[in-house]
Each structure stands twice: as structure tokens, then as C-alpha cells.
Point group: C2
């Protein structure tokens, strides 16, 4: 019992640090975030933070691996669905929206990582995402070959969809200003999701 309590309290501080780090890195980027910022957000001093993580880079890598595992899990479940044709595409798009709306901070970190060419993270990003990408390519190609979808270049099609969906979350503060409203309210996210689904359906389904 005491063992468990200690474990919980230890894990709790660690998780508090991870949560705060996630938020700071998403908000101000790797270079723009100091360990002091994160420690202050948790309510401890920097050396105490470094007691839980050996370095800033290690902390960032841990945050990023949380992101990757969450994305892989969420998207693989959707892509493994037995649905087919447009139903499956819509299912994956909506799963992506759910996932990203739940964790917009992850989206912003991923965007920053893409901009920085992954210099801060030790993991092989493309190695992680390539299977998903190839899987999606194969799916669209098969559906186009079967005549269910209009013919498009599958690779470029996926990049287009990726950009269309992620941008709404990564650039939310910017969109707030253009819309003169909060982009990330559940209503607006649903509206945008419905729009993207309708848009892609119109573009794809014969």
C-alpha cells in the first residue's frame, strides 16, 4: 500500500511535468520554452524537474512519444475498421478530427516538428508514420482502381487531406482572428469536420 502510494505520488509529479511540458512546447515551441517555465507551471524548481527527467531533450522526447503513441493508436483503430468505400474514408476523417480536437496541443507540436525537420526529437518520425501513409495510399489506390473514387494521385491526395485537417487545429489562434470567433469550440469543430467530410466526398465519390 505504501509502495503504491509512493508510486502514485511519484508518477503524479512526473505526469504533471509531462502535461505542463506538453502545453508549453505546443504554445511556444522547443526553443521558446525554458525548463523554468515548465517547473514554475508545476510548482517546483528547475533542479527538481531535472530529478525526474535527465535533460530538456529527454523530456521533449517523452512528450513527443506520448503524442506519437496516441496518434498511432487512434488512427490505426479507425484504419483497421472493416468498413470500405467512402464510409471508411469518412470514418477515418472523423476519427482524426476527434483525436485532434481532444489534443490540439499535440497537433501544434507535430506542426512545429515538421517545420523544424525533427531536429529536437530522437525518434524516426517518418519511420513511425510511413506505415500509416503507405496504408492510406494503398487504400485510396484500390478504391480508385475499383472505380469507387475519382482518380487522384494518392500521395498528394493524402497530403492535401492532412493539411486541410491539421491546419484548422494548428492555426486555431490565427483562425480565431479571421473568424472573429473561437475556432475550437465543439460547435465550430463539428462544423469544420462536416465541411471537410462533405468537401472530400464531393471531390472523391464518383
Amino acid at each position: 500500500m505504501s509502495d503504491l502510494t509512493e508510486e502514485i505520488s511519484s508518477k503524479s509529479t512526473r505526469e504533471l511535468i509531462l502535461d505542463e511540458a506538453l502545453h508549453c512546447f505546443a504554445d511556444r515551441g522547443y526553443e521558446g520554452t525554458s525548463l523554468n517555465d515548465i517547473a514554475a507551471g508545476v510548482g517546483i524548481r528547475r533542479p527538481s524537474l531535472l530529478h525526474h527527467f535527465p535533460s530538456k531533450e529527454a523530456l521533449y522526447t517523452d512528450v513527443f512519444e506520448m503524442l506519437l503513441s496516441e496518434w498511432l493508436e487512434g488512427l490505426e483503430v479507425a484504419m483497421a475498421s472493416p468498413a470500405s468505400g467512402w464510409d471508411k474514408a469518412e470514418l477515418v476523417i472523423r476519427a482524426g478530427f476527434d483525436l485532434f480536437a481532444r489534443t490540439p496541443d499535440y497537433v501544434r507540436i507535430m506542426r512545429r516538428e515538421a517545420l523544424d525537420s525533427g531536429v529536437h526529437v530522437g525518434v524516426d518520425l517518418s519511420g513511425f508514420l510511413r506505415p500509416l501513409f503507405d496504408n492510406a495510399c494503398a487504400y485510396f489506390t484500390a478504391e480508385m482502381d475499383a472505380g469507387h473514387f475519382r482518380r487522384h494521385n494518392a500521395q498528394h491526395l493524402i497530403i492535401t487531406g492532412y493539411g486541410a485537417i491539421l491546419t484548422y487545429f494548428s492555426d486555431a489562434p490565427f483562425i480565431d482572428e479571421l473568424f472573429n470567433d473561437q475556432a475550437l469550440t465543439p460547435e465550430h469543430v463539428r462544423d469544420h469536420c462536416d465541411h471537410v467530410v462533405a468537401f472530400f466526398r464531393a471531390a472523391l465519390v464518383v
Copy 2:
């Protein structure tokens, strides 16, 4: 004449600094770029750089204003064209691709600025872009009302297009890895442009 020579040499150093700063800020962001980096790229010392620009922030703002004026000029010309219907939409999309392919560093800076909510730049970003945004909204709404385009939410439609086009340039290093090829070669840019045009045409044109 000697006056002119002096002017030219002065302007030249200033422009070298602006060019190097543009590249560094696009590559590593505002926080990730030091004035030493920029000065070293130009081949002078930091204090000499600060002789031409009063502060890092002022330098960044100058770079960003170059970006804004180039974008406004390029896009306003396209949007002012007398074309109508799909022809005009395609013209604007292709003008955007030309513009962004010519200056991918600008795209990455704009993306970073959207992520950072514009904290580094003193200009009113949404104030600058709102007229373009409203103009595009009005255009699409009119075309949809006239029955030339399928009905979509104009605001979300523009965000979708914005994300689809910009992502290809801002995330180019990332796409390189997924494609196992250089995304920004003229051939690939043209391919992606053709794809986006065909995709949007299929989604929009009745």
C-alpha cells in the same frame, strides 16, 4: 555617383542581413535564431548587424513586412483579375502556388507566426489578411448563390484551401521523408498544384 555607390553598398549589406534573417527565422524560428547566427551568415559581427537594425524584433518585423507585402501584392493581382467562375478560382490557386514555390521560406515564417499567435510581430496580421479573406468569402458565396459552385460554408472552405496549399510548402522537409523524394522540385510542385486544382474543381464545380 559616389553618393550612389555608398547608397548601394549600404543597401547591399542591409539586404544581405534581411536575406540571411529570412532564411534563419524560417529554418529555426524566432527564438531558435540568434543574432550571432545571422551575423555569421552575413560575415559580420553582431554589433555591426545592430548598426543596421535597432533590435532583433525590429529586424524580424522588417522581414515579416517583406513577406506580407509580397503576399498581398501577388494575391491581390490574381484576385483582381476579371475572370469569373471556376477560371478565377483556378487562377488564384495557381498564383498562390507560384508565389509560395518562389518563397517557401515566407510560408514557413507565416506558419510559425500562426502557431505563435503573432507574438513576435508588431503588425496587425488579421487586419492585413482580413480584406483578402472577406473578399474570397464574398466571391465563393456569390458563385454558390449563382449555382456555379456546390454549396459549402465559405469560411471553412477557404481555411481548407489555405491549409491544403500551405502545408505542402511549410511541411516540405517532412513530406520529403514520406515521399522519399524532394517535395519542392519544380516537377513535384507542379504535380501538387495540378492535383489541388483538380481536387478543388471536382469538389466545387457542379
